[in-house]
């Protein structure tokens, strides 16, 4: 017996057709991409792997903006607080506000649209999964609104689940978009230097810096090895042979990296490495740095406060 306080909204089956048509577009684009990929595979130009080239984190650093002129120490600390505040919001309108703030900040920091799009694209799989699964799997509670199609009674689309997924998507995007204004607006070594000034242990900062540098080196190496494998006629398929080759490929990558590690470390010692990299940046805190930092912390706290104090009633329990 169904709980009487659950609102069932019956929709004619025509709605399903409309939704399917809407969904058909992205599916069509996806299939086309796969088709084009497999065709290019056939003409022995196998660019089957997606382009996993590693983006430069601080590509927008040489520009000028309010974010660029901001002391990285304040940037990192105040935005980290702001991020945690945004992550704790519970109401849909405030998630939307955080998202709009993020869009404005990206604009203000002069981050290229492409960079932001890439971040959102990386998130889209996760959010998409939530948007599809949550409405169908959330247990129905009293006060929920369920959409039911007349011909498919067993599929109950819970609007509360949809709203939950939507809020997660907005929050995740709001925080993801803010990554570039924080990390992308000063050269990466300067940001790391700021971390060291914030009493992050020196060893950890250096490890981040070294890892970041060698990612690009090993990625280059991995690509060269992949080219060599293709030149010898290797094609990725779903079979044991592919797994074996991949296993050897990874093993070779590790062997080379471990061997290189010794040489890199010896070279560092030869150049006088004593557990420290010389600092590259001088930091001087000015009033405006405190002001900007205060602004973001206040913004975060304001979002949380309004989340706790005001309760907007949205229709259909969104």
């Amino acid at each position: 017996m169904m709980n009487p306080s659950i609102h069932l909204i019956r929709l004619p089956s025509l709605w399903l057709l409309a939704v399917l048509l809407l969904l058909a577009l992205p599916v069509y684009v996806g299939v086309r991409r796969i088709f084009i990929q497999s065709r290019s595979n056939n003409c022995s130009a196998p660019q089957r792997d997606r382009d996993w080239s590693i983006p430069a984190i601080d590509a927008a650093a040489p520009k000028q903006s309010l974010f660029h002129s901001w002391d990285p120490r304040f940037k990192v600390v105040s935005l980290l607080i702001y991020w945690f505040c945004v992550a704790s919001i519970k109401q849909l309108p405030l998630c939307l506000v955080a998202f709009v703030i993020a869009l404005l900040a990206v604009r203000l920091a002069k981050i290229p649209v492409r960079t932001s799009m890439k971040r959102i694209a990386a998130l889209s799989g996760f959010i998409g999964m939530f948007l599809i699964i949550m409405p169908l799997t959330v247990p129905a509670k009293s006060g929920d609104h369920l959409l039911v199609l007349e011909s498919f009674q067993f599929l109950k689309f819970n609007l509360r689940g949809f709203s939950l997924a939507l809020r997660i998507g907005l929050k995740a995007s709001a925080i993801a978009l803010m990554m570039d204004p924080v990390l992308g607006t000063s050269p990466f070594p300067v940001t790391l230097n700021a971390l060291a000034r914030l009493r992050v242990p020196n060893m950890i900062v250096q490890m981040i810096s070294l890892t970041h540098r060698y990612i690009f080196v090993f990625h280059h190496e991995a690509k060269r090895m992949a080219t060599g494998m293709r030149a010898r006629g290797f094609h990725k398929r779903t079979d044991m042979e592919t797994l074996k080759t991949t296993g050897n490929y990874i093993g070779m990558l590790f062997v080379r990296s471990f061997e290189r590690t010794e040489r890199v470390y010896d070279a560092m010692l030869a150049r006088g490495y004593n557990g420290q990299f010389p600092g590259v940046a001088e930091f001087r805190a000015e009033h405006k740095d405190w002001l900007k930092g205060g602004f973001w912390v206040a913004a975060g706290l304001a979002l949380i406060a309004s989340d706790k104090l005001f309760h907007l009633q949205l229709p259909y329990g969104l």
Binding site: P55, W83, V138, R213, M252
Partner: protein, 204 residues
């Protein structure tokens, strides 16, 4: 799969940050001091290896390799994985920055378990190495999947459906990862067996 921002309750996100930071400190302590720069360089190769995609029918999955990292680095694996995930979040947005602690636990704890078990089960022959590699490669992903499901479940019973499906999605990856780990271990055993003796370990 890495958890994005805004999914976990703030208490869980902050709590896992604290636990992860403590484990990073412990892991650094367990590594010979001079070797930390080397761990960093090796971390980059794990980062790159985790970008390798293996085809699975019409789609492809990328490797998670928590098991392999654990087998090769032992106790240093946690700091390596935590750094790798921090950079993945910063460069690619794989995993949210506020969920970094949770993601590090999700991958780092299985790596520690696998490293510990590998140390005790690898024996001396190629066959035993390969068997241990295969089993632990699978175990690493299984544990990571279970951690992911548990973390999602901390957000409330509404997330049970998502947690279940995320767990199911890990099953094909377990098989692939077990096979790849076995082949990688067998390759390393033949080519450079000293790598399988947990590098960088601090002598107690």
């Amino acid at each position: 799969m890495h958890i994005a921002d805004g999914v976990l309750p703030t208490s869980v996100a902050a709590g896992s940050y604290a636990v992860s930071l403590a484990l990073v400190a412990w892991s650094v302590k367990k590594t010979r001091g001079d070797d930390l720069p080397k761990v960093a360089v090796v971390t980059s190769s794990f980062f790159v290896a985790s970008l390798i995609h293996v085809p699975l029918g019409p789609t492809s999955v990328h490797l998670l390799i928590p098991g392999l990292v654990g087998m090769l680095l032992g106790n240093s694996a946690f700091v390596s994985i935590a750094l790798g995930l921090l950079l993945q979040s910063m460069l690619f947005q794989f995993g949210g920055i506020t969920a970094w602690g949770a993601n590090s636990l999700m991958m780092g704890l299985p790596a520690l378990v696998c490293g510990w078990l590998f140390e005790r089960t690898k024996g001396a022959t190629l066959l035993r190495h390969v068997c241990a590699g295969a089993v632990l490669g699978g175990v690493g992903v299984t544990l990571a999947g279970i951690m992911l499901a548990l973390l999602l479940f901390t957000s409330g019973e509404d997330f049970l459906g998502v947690a279940k499906i995320a767990l199911i999605a890990h099953i094909p990856v377990i098989a692939i990862e077990a096979a790849v780990s076995a082949f990688t271990v067998s390759f390393l055993y033949k080519v450079k067996p000293e790598l399988l003796k947990t590098a960088f370990q601090a002598v107690p």
